[in-house]
């Protein structure tokens, strides 16, 4: 476990424990405590990673492998956006308000644990904690759709836990240890890889199920659609990425896909990634509910990350990590915007909405920024990550995958354009009459995220230097 980042796990946990007591008489204390905790953590992280001397040195002094730091920052960023948004979104007098924030903070702590651990079993424990908190968070508003989504999430990802624990058991038997380092050393040696690879493959399958890759994606649409609105942003933006995709990337580097060990697993992973891209994008085309469409879009975007992880070359890993961060930014914006829409109009059914750009210009414009980034339009950040992934595929001779990835990026643009047209452009529908823009605090997180999307795109060279350091450290 990376001790340098341990504080980022412990402090939210501490806050989570304090909140129920502090907020006993004044529920607003819960909002304040949660926000302050996450803001302080984020500020600290930014100082750690972005102080001038660090940038000038090309990020060579980043503690740890760099990836943990980056992902902890992403976790805190999305967490802060969600808590800030929630503070103004939650209806007054919700009895579980302190518990809601505590769960959010525990979820942040668990994610920090996931990205800082160096042992498979600890990883498993943290991921189960994450599953439990998400499960409770989804049902926050106690709607029937929420409970259905939570149950689907719970039961359909249950096989993942079984697969992971079986994989860990086999790994323990064959390798004698569960630490990442031992697996890496083993794969770097010439020893026959059979059972160890098989064990890793089982663990990876568990994480594939957890990340919602086709054909294990079936829980995602219902869970995202049914979840309490800010929670779906939290879930889609960061939770499923950390609980599933992060581990896949980690395993891909540990199994040394780039030098041809575990070839079969690598190919399988790439195939599943491509399948996800295709199925997710095509299914998103025909959705009528905003949140459900975003869920399918999420499946499609995860496909890109999995595809790149399956390729496993340094460039591909850079693309995958970058796309993971980008996905956190743009998906958070889109889901928070869907929450704003739901708050203003009471629905997320795209057929009932229309002409919202006049009444909700900020929401409309931030959506455009986010969707263009998703579709990979330069100079936004999504363009660079997709470019890295497609370049990596092309360089490795996987021309078909590269072309397909490019094509489905067009499909992505198509369904988002359709969404934008239906919801924000065109004529006003009865549901969108007399609708007003949501208040400024609700807009602040999406505007911040949109700014980050643009900034990451424009300041790509700096970010590239950082991701390069990360790729060098985790692969070599």
């Amino acid at each position: 476990m990376d001790k340098g980042l341990l504080a980022y796990l412990l402090i939210p946990l501490l806050s989570a424990v304090i909140i129920p007591f502090a907020a006993r008489t004044r529920p607003k204390m819960a909002d304040i405590l949660a926000n302050v905790t996450l803001l302080a953590g984020l500020a600290n992280l930014l100082w750690l990673a972005l102080r001038p001397s660090m940038i000038a040195g090309g990020f060579a002094d980043i503690p740890g492998d760099g990836l943990s730091l980056l992902l902890v920052a992403a976790v805190y960023l999305v967490g802060l956006c969600v808590t800030f948004f929630s503070a103004y979104f939650i209806e007054e007098g919700l009895p579980n308000r302190p518990a809601y924030y505590s769960l959010l903070l525990v979820s942040v702590a668990a994610m920090t644990g996931v990205v800082t651990t160096t042992d498979f079993f600890t990883l498993y424990v943290f991921i189960e904690v994450l599953a439990v908190t998400s499960f409770a968070l989804i049902t926050t508003d106690d709607s029937s759709a929420g409970i259905e989504g939570a149950l689907k999430y719970f039961f359909l990802t249950f096989p993942a836990s079984v697969l992971i624990i079986v994989g860990i058991a086999i790994l323990m038997m064959t390798l004698g240890s569960l630490s990442y380092e031992n697996l890496r050393l083993f794969m770097a040696s010439d020893a026959p890889a059979g059972p160890v690879t098989f064990a890793s493959a089982l663990i990876m399958l568990g994480f594939i199920v957890k990340s919602g890759v086709v054909p294990f994606h079936t829980w995602t649409p219902d869970a995202y659609q049914g979840a309490y609105a800010p929670v779906s942003a939290h879930l889609a933006g960061i939770v499923t990425k950390i609980s599933g995709v992060y581990a896949i990337i980690k395993l891909a580097t540990l199994l040394r896909f780039f030098d041809g060990r575990a070839q079969a697993l690598s190919e399988m992973l790439m195939f599943l990634g491509m399948l996800s891209i295709a199925v997710g994008a095509l299914a998103a085309l025909k959705q009528t509910n905003f949140k459900r469409m975003l869920a399918f879009s999420s499946i499609s975007q995860i496909g890109y990350i999995v595809l790149a992880a399956g390729l496993g070359t340094p460039l591909a890993i850079m693309g995958a990590v970058f796309h993971l961060i980008n996905h956190a930014t743009f998906k958070t914006v889109l889901f928070l915007n869907s929450a704003s829409l739901e708050k203003s109009t009471g629905t997320t059914d795209m057929d009932k909405l229309g002409g919202m750009e006049h009444s909700m210009p900020w929401t409309s414009w931030t959506s455009i920024v986010a969707l263009l980034s998703t579709a990979g339009v330069p100079p936004l950040s999504g363009f660079w990550s997709k470019l890295l992934i497609i370049l990596a595929l092309w360089e490795s001779g996987l021309r078909v995958y590269a072309v397909l990835a490019l094509l489905f990026s067009i499909v992505t643009l198509a369904y988002f354009m359709m969404m934008q047209k239906k919801v924000f452009f065109g004529k006003k529908t009865p549901a969108s009459e007399r609708v007003q823009e949501v208040s400024a605090p609700l807009l602040a997180p999406v505007v911040l995220m949109s700014a980050i999307i643009v900034a990451l795109g424009l300041l790509f060279p700096y970010f590239y230097a950082y991701v390069k350091v990360v790729a060098e450290r985790i692969i070599l």
């Binding site: 359909l156 493959a201 294990f216 079969a264 095509l282």
Partner: protein, 619 residues
């Protein structure tokens, strides 16, 4: 300003100025156009009298030198174009059926300017520029002459036929320039191209197509009879009768003699083309029942003589071709003018409704007789001399068959003009034409002028030959012997025999047609074999444009439409259809059914594990 530029720039400036003048002003437009064309004519005459000079401008940077040169042939052409422009603009002063006056004179002056440019251009690219400009004004000329749909359709027909052949010309000029290494015609003439290899034959054939199509030869002539009925007599007198003949034959002579050295095969091709054009068109002319339409077929037929003359490749034949060119322009312009007068005064050009107009319109009738005699080759009018030259040139080549064809054409020409003159100016005048009066002076003046030229060029045939034709041949670098003089030899007597035969034929036809002059050709029209051929011609079976438009173009465009639909389908319908289908399928699949989802998850997991295990997972 250089004098050479006046015949080009002045008409263009005047034409543009015309557009600024209100349509309601009377005579102002007409007077401006007449002034412009007359001044251009004077400038052209001045240029003709001066020694040859050259003006050159760099064009498109210095890629193309825009060279205008007034060698004697070009200056002769320029003078002729100016003459006809002036004559027609005066004639049109009180011509009612010419469409909006503003647009008529605009087109007239533009055509004159571009024709002058094409005649003067030494660089082939510059010539092509003017040549294609004529195409535009050909379209607007016809399309704006009447407001009917037929006028638009005929304009499009003329435009497409000439456009297609102009593209041939464009390609031919490009290839010629590429082979020769220069676009300057005078430079090419120092080192003429031979037809020894495929590319140069191809280039020459393309140039030939462009030139004879402009001149209106078979089989590119079909728009001319249609234009005769669908546009005005002024247009017919100006463009198909005069300007197109001048330019087409001019460039045919340039290409065949100045740029290329032709061989025997190509000579045969040219002469055959000429003979076929003569016969086909005159056969059609013979049976027409409309004044202008009949004349228009003759305009085609006479082109055959010019092509035949140039095709002989000997000095006498070429001189005959060029002489016939200017003669034809003169008398055919005059004939179309008479048709315009008759149309204005009598209200129709249908032969069956006309008759006995000579007493009512003596001056018009006189002009008609002179011009008709000239076109029929009756001595001693100008047509006789030019035809004599062509006959002599043809006989010199040794191909008697072409000579016989030309004589036969002459016979039929005279026969059709006997019919035409008889049915319009003689015979019984119908009741409704009793009040018909002579045409106004502004129409008679140019007619009389042109008729006078026919007489002068006939009685004083050495005048035009010494002034125009002989210098033109020198410009083409051809040495020649004596061309003038009246020879009462075998050819003369043969022409007398032809005249007598035609008169006898006319009398026979009158007898067969029950004394009605307009039915005087029916015994040929309904002769056993010809009847079917004429019927097919009436159905436009031989008109490549109509056949193409009816059969080939619809099929071709349908095929193209299908191809376009296919690509449209490929890039538009198919992807969105496929995406829609797949999207709907996957949407229907996501029913929210928990057992289905669980089964899918488990099945996926099992397949994954099995695949990995079989791929060396558990070795």
């Amino acid at each position: 300003m250089n004098l050479i530029l006046i015949p080009i720039i002045l008409p263009i400036v005047s034409a543009l100025a015309l557009l600024l003048i209100s349509e309601r002003t009377r005579y102002l437009k007409e007077l401006l156009a007449i002034c412009a064309s007359v001044v251009s004519l004077l400038a052209a005459a001045n240029i003709f009298l001066l020694p040859a000079q050259t003006v050159s401008y760099a064009w498109l940077g210095s890629a193309i030198s825009f060279t205008l040169s007034t060698d004697t042939l070009s200056a002769f052409l320029l003078l002729a174009a100016g003459l006809f422009s002036a004559a027609i603009s005066i004639y049109s002063f009180s011509m009612p059926n010419k469409g909006p006056a503003k647009w008529f004179f605009f087109n007239l002056l533009m055509t004159q300017a571009f024709a002058s440019g094409a005649a003067l251009a030494d660089n082939m690219v510059a010539m092509l520029f003017f040549w294609e400009g004529l195409l535009v004004f050909l379209y607007t000329f016809i399309a704006l002459s009447q407001t009917t749909y037929a006028a638009k359709r005929t304009a499009m027909k003329a435009f497409l036929i000439n456009g297609a052949t102009d593209i041939c010309l464009l390609v031919g000029i490009t290839i010629t320039g590429y082979i020769a290494g220069t676009m300057s015609m005078s430079e090419i003439s120092h080192n003429k191209l031979t037809l020894d290899y495929g590319w140069s034959v191809f280039a020459y054939v393309l140039l030939l197509i462009g030139a004879v199509s402009k001149a209106g030869a078979f089989p590119f002539h079909t728009w001319i009879p249609d234009a005769a009925t669908d546009s005005s007599a002024s247009f017919m007198a100006f463009v198909p009768a005069a300007i197109d003949k001048l330019l087409g034959i001019y460039f045919l002579a340039r290409a065949s003699i100045y740029l290329f050295v032709l061989n025997g095969t190509m000579q045969l091709v040219l002469m055959t083309l000429g003979a076929v054009t003569i016969l086909v068109a005159v056969m059609m002319a013979l049976v027409q029942k409309d004044y202008k339409r009949l004349l228009s077929y003759h305009a085609v037929s006479q082109t055959g003589y010019m092509i035949l003359g140039i095709g002989t490749l000997n000095p006498i034949g070429i001189a005959g071709g060029l002489f016939h060119m200017i003669n034809h322009a003169t008398y055919k312009s005059c004939l179309f003018m008479t048709s315009g007068s008759v149309e204005r005064q009598a209200g129709t050009t249908d032969l069956s409704k006309l008759g006995g107009l000579f007493r009512a319109m003596p001056v018009t009738g006189l002009c008609f007789i002179i011009a008709a005699a000239a076109i029929s080759g009756i001595a001693p009018l100008n047509g006789f001399f030019s035809k004599e030259l062509v006959y002599k040139g043809t006989l010199d080549t040794g191909y008697t068959i072409f000579f016989l064809a030309a004589e036969l054409g002459s016979f039929l020409t005279l026969a059709s003009f006997l019919k035409l003159g008889h049915s319009v100016f003689f015979g019984v005048r119908p009741e409704n034409l009793k009040e018909t009066k002579e045409a106004p002076f502004s129409m008679l003046l140019p007619m009389l002028g042109l008729a006078a030229i026919c007489v002068v060029f006939g009685f004083g045939a050495q005048l035009p030959i010494n002034w125009f034709i002989s210098p033109s041949l020198e410009a083409l670098n051809i040495r020649h012997g004596i061309l003038t003089g009246f020879h009462p030899d075998k050819l003369y007597f043969l022409s007398v025999i032809v005249i007598l035969a035609a008169v006898i034929n006319h009398l026979l036809g009158l007898a067969a047609g029950g004394g009605k002059a307009d039915k005087a050709s029916d015994h040929i029209h309904y002769a056993p074999v010809l009847k079917e051929a004429y019927a097919m011609a009436e159905r436009r079976v031989f008109d490549i444009y109509e056949v193409g438009m009816d059969r080939v173009v619809p099929a071709f465009s349908y095929a193209l439409f299908k191809v376009d639909r296919f690509f449209d389908w490929v890039i538009d319908t198919a992807p969105s259809g496929a995406a829609g289908f797949l999207g709907n399928t996957s949407r229907r699949f996501h029913t929210g059914s928990y057992p289905l989802y669980m089964a899918l998850t488990l099945a996926g997991a099992i397949i994954y594990i099995l695949l990995l295990a079989s791929n060396g997972g558990l070795k």
